[in-house]
Symmetry: C2
Subunit: 490 residues, 2 copies
């Protein structure tokens, strides 16, 4: 299976694409820029959704659903917002097809033209804030803490599976508050949830911080983000949480009666993570043998493979294997026992290795005699013989170890690939090698754009807990009070 599979060193981009396709995670569809998420990939996404959804609900958020379509006029109401999204909108103009007059196929029925075109949502602030106007009258209606799981469309010209697709799946939270402070608190609370999810579930360490003005969400006052470093030294924005101020409340005239009986504009946040997280997950941990999945998000956490020479042996092994399987399932572990007789054990070993299954148990006739099982872990590729006694707790312990190890490995990688750079020459050299560059910046968009023009590097984030120190902008030489994080990014 892994035969025609690029290594990371050969061609990182090709390695990623091969991995996504050959591990049955996703593939390109017949529709330009749109992907098909295959069952194995979707199972990982469902695990992500379940974990995030619980975190949102545990912090008081409810799910709802808003229309796929946004009237064109809504987009124009927030000036920055339309500027940011107009160039990549899928536009619905008609609502009917008909048979062609020449009898050849079907055509758009020009009599069924919409009075106002509809945009497929690239994000839902406008339709949601138009709705909130009717939901919010008084401070008693606030806060409004709503999330939706949905598909969105941004007509990207260059697409890559999971990382950048015309249609993608995501969640978008949209909250409404009576005070600025509370809205900012919400923005940061969600940022913490995203960071926790990335680190504890995906085993991907992230930097939490603010975006510079250039990288801000179209319509936001402040955009916060979590940024991860991939194995090729490029950064990946894994989630954003926006403090929207009163921008959308003003655009859609959403006011509330305060406790002091004053009519005030509502304060807003929005925040989202998408199927792009799948890209981060795949790139952060996987290796030249295939996918490496953290146990908490692996659809199959443990696979059991029987090693046998005849059906008599298989039957005996199956009894033991099913005992183990059931004891693991009872502990909430997802297990597959692969007793197919159409494939050899070696083929199965590389198949599950390639698919990133965290733990593999192999049982042969000698194991039956000795009461043992061979345990292989995907992250280190190490094998060990375990006594079967109490196997379920040993496996749970191992899965925990793997989860932690993946995080530590990714964390160490990031540390090794984070550089403090103080001169422009060093900057230009280092940025080509990849990694996070911590450098002083004079705080102007002008400088940021010049740096981007010359190196393709952008400011990924201004870390939240950033150390304040006197320095000079790596590009302009002007004074600076803190280092920011530069990198080339996905």
């Amino acid at each position: 299976m892994a035969k025609d599979f690029s290594t990371r060193a050969e061609n990182y981009a090709q390695w990623y694409n091969d991995l996504v396709i050959k591990a049955d995670l996703a593939e390109n569809s017949a529709v330009r820029g749109c992907m098909v998420i295959k069952p194995y990939g979707y199972a990982i996404w469902e695990k992500m959704q379940a974990a995030l959804d619980k975190m949102f609900k545990d912090t008081g958020h409810s799910n709802a659903y808003f229309p796929l379509f946004i009237p064109k006029s809504f987009l124009s109401k927030e000036a920055d917002h339309v500027e940011g999204f107009a160039k990549e909108c899928a536009v619905v103009t008609h609502y009917r097809l008909k048979n062609a007059d020449d009898g050849k196929g079907i055509v758009v029925d020009e009599d069924a033209k919409l009075e106002e075109e509809l945009i497929i949502r690239p994000t839902s602030e406008t339709i949601i804030w138009d709705t909130y106007r009717n939901w919010i009258q008084s401070y008693r209606d606030l806060p409004l803490l709503i999330n939706q799981w949905a598909n969105v469309v941004r007509w990207e010209m260059r697409t890559r599976l999971f990382l950048r697709t015309a249609e993608f799946l995501w969640q978008e939270g949209h909250t409404a508050h009576s005070t600025k402070e509370e809205a900012i608190e919400e923005t940061l609370k969600i940022l913490d949830i995203y960071a926790d999810f990335a680190e504890k579930w995906m085993a991907v360490p992230v930097l939490k911080g603010l975006k510079s003005a250039n990288e801000r969400f179209a319509g936001a006052v402040d955009t916060y983000c979590i940024e991860a470093l991939m194995q090729d030294g490029k950064a990946l924005q894994a989630g954003t949480s926006h403090f929207l101020g009163q921008n959308f409340a003003k655009a859609f005239d959403v006011k509330f009666l305060s406790k002091d009986n004053q009519l005030e504009y509502v304060w807003a946040t929005s925040w989202g993570v998408s199927t792009r997280l799948m890209g981060a997950l795949i790139m952060a941990h996987s290796d030249d043998n295939g996918l490496v999945l953290p146990p908490k998000l692996a659809p199959i956490q443990v696979v059991i493979v029987p090693i046998y020479k005849n059906y008599g042996q298989l039957n005996e092994i199956s009894i033991k294997a099913n005992e183990i399987k059931n004891s693991l399932i009872a502990k909430g572990i997802s297990v597959k026992y692969d007793d197919r007789d159409t494939q050899k054990p070696g083929w199965k070993f590389s198949e599950y290795e390639f698919k990133g299954v965290p733990v593999r148990l192999a049982i042969g006739p000698r194991d039956l005699e000795n009461g043992t099982v061979e345990v292989a872990r995907r992250d280190t590729l190490e094998k060990e013989i375990y006594q079967i006694t109490d196997i379920e707790n040993k496996v749970i312990h191992l899965l925990d170890q793997i989860q932690v190890n993946l995080y530590h490995k990714a964390y160490a990688f990031r540390e090794e690939n984070t550089y403090r750079v103080d001169t422009w020459d060093d900057f230009k050299v280092q940025i080509e090698k990849g990694g996070f560059i911590l450098a002083h910046w004079d705080g102007t968009s002008e400088t940021e754009l010049k740096i981007k023009d010359e190196t393709k590097a952008t400011i990924r984030t201004i870390p939240l807990d950033n150390k304040q120190e006197v320095g000079f902008c790596v590009y302009s030489g002007r004074p600076s009070k803190e280092r920011v994080v530069f990198a080339k990014a996905y």
Copy 2:
């Protein structure tokens, strides 16, 4: 809250609409025909999704995700299919907006016209079978048992919240098989799952059966359905399961190498239920006091309301109420303790009654003295005093009773409103009164359409376990071997 709320007798359609809106289930959006599903309504839909998703997975199905867009040419490939859907398609023709030349707002950028128009999926057979062509080579790749949870768009002219909306949420299963028999077996297996879900979760009794040719899905060989009877005597199709034969395999050239080494076309099924189920759920059980929800799908199963004269009493009651709450939560019951001091108990009682919460517990100072609690059930509106001892098991028992009672009530209603009719005069009279009419039919589409023209009644289903009996068509007088189910329908 329920003040300006129509009764069923006054205006059933208005009662339904009032209920949906005032119980915070859904509302119309700014986009014609599209609804906003509000948090309380979405919470019910999530419970439906979770139950169905588990049933699909327990029977070997996996989830995946296919594109929102379908190239126009795909629709034309299956002749009946395009005929069925072309007239209600939302069509994407452009992929960019721009600032208007006159500086007034934004307009569609005519330079960004798609070469081939894209249809927003009304259902996904075409894009999925185009994909399956690459997934299926040999009998070893079969069966392919895939489901997707998605939004679809059908441009309906007359829409009603949940029952018929331009955009709706649904699941659509698409399976591929090596034999006709296996595909039919799958079609019927899913029909059983749908019926089980309707009866055991929604507490809505359904008839399982076949659709007549007129009512068949566009592209199917056979369409099976579950049909429910609403309180106004109209039928509601609650789910369909289609045996597609080799129609889509032929349209998209999907062949497999059989065990006998022959290239054969693949056999297919598709099946779906949608947010329309919400409409069935609401209409089947609710009454003039508001929503009535079966416990298994109620977002809040039990509400606890304190009755107090001062904060001292509230504090004491809260200790006991929280004890009860926690003991119920420990049993997996969803409980809300409403200790808001901004509303009176009477207001809360009618609020939760209106929202359909199955069980209400009220605790006052005397209850504290006596170790009792007042228990009110939503289905019968009966109240009873319970000793608090072992309250969690008593409540579980009561919830079970309510679930069963709702089903029995709905079943009895259906039985009372099912009529055997043998003459055309009786048919015309009875169909105006509503209900299921069991009548003989000569089996021709011609007769079925004439009956529809004259009475608006359609054949809802030909029941699966239909008794064979000699008779004469109620309309044409021609011989018939079984009765079929007629009704006016949603």
